[in-house]
């Protein structure tokens, strides 16, 4: 059990490292779909996102705002994930499959 908790803590540390620290060095070039949309001439068909003016839109610029966006996103996805998967999760029904 303590080994499982250690692994979960290590996983969270990796996730925070990726989201908060490494994402600061992310490329700001358009992604594949945006790039092709510009190249093929339909990028202007994109409507501005309804929530484009909200504080966390586009994960903040860089630095602190991006770190906060990453932190919020990690907490929210982890939280929603736990709620959804806890709802459908159940005790093992076939004890012989548990090693």
């Amino acid at each position: 059990m303590t080994k499982n908790i250690r692994l979960a803590v290590a996983a969270v540390a990796v996730i925070v490292l990726v989201g908060v620290v490494l994402s600061q060095f992310a490329s700001s070039e358009p992604d594949g779909l945006e790039f092709i949309a510009e190249r093929e001439g339909f990028a202007d068909n994109a409507d501005e996102h309804t929530l484009a003016d909200t504080p966390l839109a586009d994960y903040g610029e860089s630095g602190v705002s991006r770190a906060i966006a990453a932190g919020v996103g990690i907490v929210v996805t982890l939280g929603v994930g736990l709620v959804v998967f806890k709802t459908i999760g159940h005790k093992t029904t076939t004890p012989e499959s548990e090693s």
Partner: protein
């Protein structure tokens, strides 16, 4: 590759929304049949990891970047139906909290990244496992290859949607399809490397928890090899 509002017509987007909602229900029901309590933390951590990793755009071509989808990663870790749910959760949070991926395009994005990349990519992984020697190493290699292929597969999904219901009617749909698939083959290389690295790390420490590995000790909704 999050589709913004406006690329695909409202009718098709709404149909995709209904389809994604239905698929979410099916995935919930299927995941319920095998998702035991001990897999719950791994599934939730997968969602957080996919979210964090998707924030990192890596350079692919001059002027173009790519980022992880994480579909095969999630599906190999927690199974195709829970993997679909992981991607759906991430996409909903990204669209509602971070204005990334259009609200009307949410269904399209869930079908492309959760349906095609995660579930479709999982089946590529499963086929590769079937013809492999089923060692720990083949799980990692199969996941990497399946992940690499899942990216152009998802891009092809968008290309089909664009051909059917794209709003840019003056644009050549086949030209969009080929350039999109070609660039996403390149982005898929990054997807394959990251997926193989993460699956390798998890299989190395908890081979019993990885759904797509022969060493997995829980229930599956389908046999790993036919």
């Amino acid at each position: 590759m999050h589709i913004p509002d406006g690329f695909i017509g409202p009718g098709a987007s709404a149909v995709a929304g209904l389809g994604a909602a239905g698929a979410f229900g099916v995935a919930l029901r299927q995941a319920r049949t095998y998702l035991t309590d001990r897999l719950v933390p791994l599934a939730a951590l997968s969602a957080a990891f996919v979210f964090a990793a998707q924030m990192i755009n890596f350079p692919v071509l001059p002027g173009m970047s790519g980022h992880l989808i994480g579909g095969v990663l999630a599906a190999v870790l927690v199974g195709p139906s829970a993997g679909f749910l992981v991607l759906a959760i991430v996409l909903v949070v990204q669209s509602l909290v971070f204005a990334d991926g259009g609200l009307s395009a949410l269904g399209l994005n869930i079908l492309n990244l959760g349906g095609i990349a995660a579930v479709g990519g999982y089946w590529v992984h499963r086929i590769l496992i079937g013809i492999s020697r089923r060692t720990q190493r083949s799980v990692v290699v199969a996941a990497g290859i399946a992940a690499a292929l899942s990216v152009p597969m998802a891009a092809a999904g968008f290309a089909v949607e664009f051909a059917i219901a794209g709003t840019a009617t003056s644009v050549s749909a086949s030209s969009v399809a080929w350039t999109l698939i070609a660039t996403h083959v390149l982005i898929g290389i990054g997807e394959g490397i990251i997926t193989a690295a993460v699956i390798g790390a998890v299989v190395g420490s908890r081979p019993d928890l990885v759904y797509g590995a022969p060493t997995y000790t829980g229930d599956r909704t389908e046999d790993l090899v036919s």
